[in-house]
Structures are given as structure tokens and as C-alpha cells.
């Protein structure tokens, strides 16, 4: 089954890196949408269903925390697993994002297998409980 994802990061280089890792990871990646902040992500999600959202935290206009908060409060978008990909390794931040509804958290730098593992875990959680 093809996996449709949305990558949210203000760095085009990082979006490109994540996309490449997903494509090389062995996952069958279908549509791979990109947004540079939370606002753009929400606009894309109005018209496009994805199987997972991978988001950075520190972004202009709308950061990853607010994106997660809005998705969690939305009747439909809350069903999409969100994986946070961030340089912030602090325990407080990780716990906060998980409490807000993130299904997983990957710290940069990350090995390709780590991203794949966390993404599969996130998808497994939603498949097992929804």
C-alpha cells in the first residue's frame, strides 16, 4: 500500500533529506507533499488526505506545536499520525509534543532506519487503535 505523507519543515534542504530517506527506506511512498510551516500544512490538508505528517517544531508563521494543537482539535485531522522531527532533544519538549498528540518523536540528526522505525511505529499505533 502506498504511503502518502506531508513533510513540514522551513528548511528546503531538510525536506529534501527526509523525502529521500523515506524513498530509500523501502517504504512504498506515494504522494509526498511539502510545507514550510504549519499554516501551509493546514491548507494542504484541507484538500489532501495523507497517511502521516512529519513536522519540525521551530518554524516561522505557525510552528509545529501549534500545528499539532490544531490537528488534535480537528475532528478529522486528529486521525492522522504526526511524527515530530526536531533538533530539540529536551525531555520537556518531547513530553509536551507527545501530550499534544504526536505519535512519535525523532531527533535530528537521525539515521534513516530510525526515521523509518518511528514512522512505522506511529502508523502501527493508529492501525491498532483506530
Amino acid at each position: 500500500m502506498e504511503l502518502h505523507v506531508l513533510i513540514v519543515d522551513d528548511s528546503p534542504a531538510m525536506r529534501s533529506f527526509i523525502r529521500r530517506v523515506l524513498e530509500l527506506s523501502g517504504l512504498e511512498v506515494g504522494r509526498c507533499l511539502e510545507a514550510s510551516n504549519g499554516e501551509e500544512a493546514l491548507r494542504l490538508l484541507e484538500d489532501n488526505w495523507v497517511d502521516a505528517v512529519l513536522t519540525d517544531i521551530n518554524m516561522p508563521r505557525m510552528d509545529g506545536e501549534e500545528l499539532l494543537r490544531r490537528m488534535s482539535a480537528h475532528a478529522v485531522l486528529r486521525l492522522i499520525p504526526v511524527l515530530v522531527v526536531s533538533t530539540d532533544r529536551t525531555e520537556g519538549r518531547i513530553q509536551k509534543m507527545l501530550t499534544l498528540g504526536a505519535r512519535g518523536y525523532v531527533t535530528k540528526p537521525f539515521a534513516p532506519e530510525t526515521l523509518r522505525g518511528e514512522l512505522e511505529h506511529s502508523l502501527g499505533v493508529v492501525h491498532g487503535t483506530e
Binding site: 528548511s11 534542504a13 533529506f17 532533544r89 529536551t90 520537556g92 535530528k108
Partner: protein, 155 residues
């Protein structure tokens, strides 16, 4: 926070980020700005970001353009000749973000930091910091990368 702790954190962070994200290895590394014989006058991409927390300060990364294309190619999965100037800058900024985040988490794993977006700027590594600063250079074969960390307050 002792300078040798910062040096050790810098060494581990740079190697981890370069090996994991750019598939590049450090051949040699030492304290201080790049050795004078390594300065061939070639242009470099220099980026800086600020962090606020305990402690607060500034992080800087300098990468010669040629080396930026090499690590950029590894990061983006392209040939060096296909890496544009702007892409090389984006990769250097992203490296600065990751290296700084890794250094800070190693130095203060329980603390919370707010890190600004890295910006390309002009500076001499190690110069112009308000408080204490620590520099380290890394030889990757294709050029020498320098990192500097300036702290505004001690923990």
C-alpha cells in the same frame, strides 16, 4: 561549564551530524580556529544562530564553499556540481542547527533552549563574542570546518 566539556561536546556533535546526515567523516580535529596553513583565502559560508536558555549564547559555523558543496551533495543525495549556491547555504544552516542542538543537549540535557533560525552572515571564527567563547576545527579532507560557541552566562 568547563571549556574541555564544550570541546568534547563539539567533537562528538560534529562527527555525529556529518556521519549521519552527510555521510562524511572527520579526518582530524583540534581546539582553536583553523590552522593558518589551512587558510588558502578561498570563500566560506558562515552562519550564526542564537540560543536562549541556561546558558544563553551564540553558535557559529564556517564551511569553505568547496566543502559546503561536498557535504551538501551528501546531504541532498546529488552530485557536487548539482548543488547550487543557495542549496549549499541551506545545508550549512541546517548543519549549524543540528550541531548546535546536539552540543547543547550534551552540555545541558535537562535544560530547555529556544534556538533562532540560522542566518548566513560574515564573521571570523571565535572573534566578536561578548562573553567566553570556544572554537574547534575539523578537517574533512576537502576543507576545514570551524565551529564556535559563545556563552553569555555560566551555569
Amino acid at each position: 561549564m568547563e571549556p574541555n566539556e564544550i570541546q568534547a561536546a563539539m567533537a562528538v556533535a560534529v562527527e555525529e551530524v556529518l556521519e549521519t546526515m552527510c555521510f562524511a567523516s572527520v579526518l582530524a580535529s583540534a581546539e582553536g580556529a583553523a590552522p593558518p596553513e589551512a587558510d588558502d583565502g578561498s570563500p566560506a559560508i558562515t552562519t550564526a544562530l542564537h540560543f536562549e536558555g541556561s546558558p544563553s549564547g551564540e553558535f557559529r559555523l564556517g564551511v569553505p564553499v568547496k566543502l559546503a558543496r561536498v557535504v551538501g551533495a551528501g546531504f541532498l543525495g546529488r552530485e557536487e556540481t548539482d548543488v547550487s549556491d543557495s542549496q549549499a547555504e541551506e545545508v550549512v544552516c541546517e548543519l549549524a542547527n543540528m550541531i548546535c542542538g546536539t552540543v547543547l543537549s550534551r552540555l545541558e540535557s535537562k535544560a530547555t533552549f529556544q534556538i533562532t533560525h540560522p542566518e548566513v552572515t560574515q564573521f571570523e571564527p571565535g572573534a566578536g563574542f561578548d562573553g567566553d567563547s570556544t572554537c574547534r576545527w575539523f578537517d574533512l579532507g576537502d576543507g576545514i570546518l570551524t565551529v564556535s560557541l559563545g556563552l553569555q552566562q555560566a551555569v
